[in-house]
């Protein structure tokens, strides 16, 4: 009788085994969260699944060092497989989440159903394509390492290209094309180029760089149709003009990967809505490009597609789950390099406040500028002045 009892107890122990934590998305945000959980003393099981067939990698160098041909693909890897093993992760690639059931605390994937005690949604965002061009081999996008390597190959031997989108990614691509000696035309439906979170303050500066480097600019136009010929791509524009190139690169942003949450009951309008601890619902968190966190300082909920936010959100959620402690709200940060100009940006510059020059001088092409509203610094940009930019960051903490 006693042996039967032991056996029953053992089975029961296995059946109620703690399912631990599941991270959906082997992104930088998801991986940082796992590192943070372990660093903060979380000892339960962590399962990490990723849809891509690669180990997690850095995206910012794709449009910079990788496209310029300075880096090999492997240099973008974040950590080796051994490092993941050291963290005690059950790590699976080529597996994607398909449905979340919050009531039963289960996520169905392409391979199985995973139970969880806590879930981290770190599925990132997918590139937005130009409708009608999805199957055109001369139309490229730039989001994944495979995209970057494919585009780099396509640049060999060509003389002209069209870039759709004059945002930060489009501007970096145009800058890379220029280094390859490829003549670029840029199309955007907005009236100027745009850098994120800068309130339009740098639009004319970026445009001046385009003009200086012989880029043809088509602003304030819609694309009516796209046709692919044997040797190139032609865009018919709403102002009646046509522009052509041997290839095209579409850089019109990303869409958060929330399809698997359609029936979950979560608010997924423009990403997963979260509170300032990253909680979307009890035991459900979101981090990185897919997440829209509430910022208690500004009162706004913003989806931030930048690497530093992905890192900081991953750290904060790991700490919150392991210790119950909240982390202070941080400022968004991004960097870019456009035609050799090193741009660093912290916070959020306001469009209706004039820039205050904190260091250097715009006419020397080296300066740090800020927007200051009622004595509060809301954003800082460093333009070719990284050390002074770092020193000026204290303004944001005041």
């Amino acid at each position: 009788m006693s042996s039967k009892g032991d056996c029953a107890r053992r089975v029961e122990m296995i059946s109620v085994e703690d399912p631990g934590l599941v991270i959906v998305g082997a992104s930088l945000a998801g991986l940082t969260c796992a590192q943070s959980l372990r660093a903060e003393g979380y000892t339960k099981k962590i399962t990490l699944i990723g849809a891509e067939r690669h180990l997690p990698y850095n995206r910012p160098p794709l449009s910079k060092q990788v496209l310029a041909g300075k880096w090999q693909a492997a240099q973008t890897n974040i950590d080796s497989a051994e490092k993941f093993a050291e963290l005690g992760l059950d790590f699976f690639i080529d597996e994607d989440a398909q449905e979340l059931n919050i009531a039963s605390k289960e996520v169905r994937t392409s391979k199985r159903t995973l139970a969880f005690e806590d879930l981290i949604i770190a599925t990132g965002a997918s590139v937005r394509r130009l409708p009608g061009t999805e199957t055109m081999s001369r139309v490229h996008v730039l989001r994944t390492i495979d995209d970057a390597l494919g585009l780099r190959e396509a640049l060999v031997g060509i003389k002209s290209a069209v870039v759709v989108g004059a945002g930060v990614l489009g501007s970096e691509v145009i800058s890379a094309l220029s280094e390859y000696g490829i003549h670029a035309t840029v199309i955007d439906r907005m009236a100027t180029p745009q850098l994120p979170l800068t309130g339009g303050h740098f639009a004319s500066r970026v445009n001046d760089l385009f003009i200086e480097h012989g880029v043809i600019t088509k602003y304030g136009v819609d694309i009516i149709s796209v046709t692919e010929q044997e040797t190139g791509i032609t865009f018919d524009l709403s102002d009646g003009s046509k522009v052509s190139g041997e290839i095209a690169v579409v850089a019109i942003g990303c869409i958060p990967n929330v399809d698997f949450l359609a029936n979950s009951g979560l608010d997924i309008s423009n990403g997963v809505l979260c509170d300032s601890n990253g909680l979307a619902a009890p035991h459900i968190y979101a981090v990185g490009d897919v997440a829209r966190w509430h910022n208690p300082v500004t009162g706004k909920s913003l989806r931030l597609e930048n690497q530093t936010s992905a890192i900081e959100q991953g750290l904060a959620v790991g700490k919150f789950i392991a210790t119950g402690e909240s982390s202070p709200t941080t400022h968004p940060f991004f960097w870019s390099e456009i035609f050799g100009n090193k741009i660093l940006m912290l916070g959020n510059l306001e469009a209706d406040i004039p820039l205050t020059i904190v260091h250097g001088s715009p006419s020397d092409n080296r300066f740090v500028a800020a927007t200051i509203s009622n004595g509060v610094t809301t954003g800082i940009v460093g333009w070719n002045m990284p050390r002074e930019f770092r020193q000026s960051r204290a303004m944001m903490e005041a």
Partner: protein, 63 residues
């Protein structure tokens, strides 16, 4: 622990110099300068924090 920095990857954000100024500095171009590659025990935690926060993932720690 030994620290390695990749100046090719560094983008001059200065996160490392902010959280661990006794280990990291920036040159005139803003690129990382390693003040010591073998921090004493009391600085290991901030070195680890700098590596985690580096937006360009340009800092590697060999434990």
């Amino acid at each position: 622990m030994k620290i390695r920095v990749d100046r090719d990857a560094c983008i001059g954000a200065g996160q490392c110099a902010l959280v661990a100024g006794s280990i990291f500095d920036q040159d005139d171009d803003g690129l990382v300068v390693l003040l010591t590659d073998t921090p004493s025990d009391e600085f290991i935690a901030v070195a680890r924090k700098a590596a985690t926060l580096c937006p360009a993932k340009a800092i590697a720690l060999e434990e």
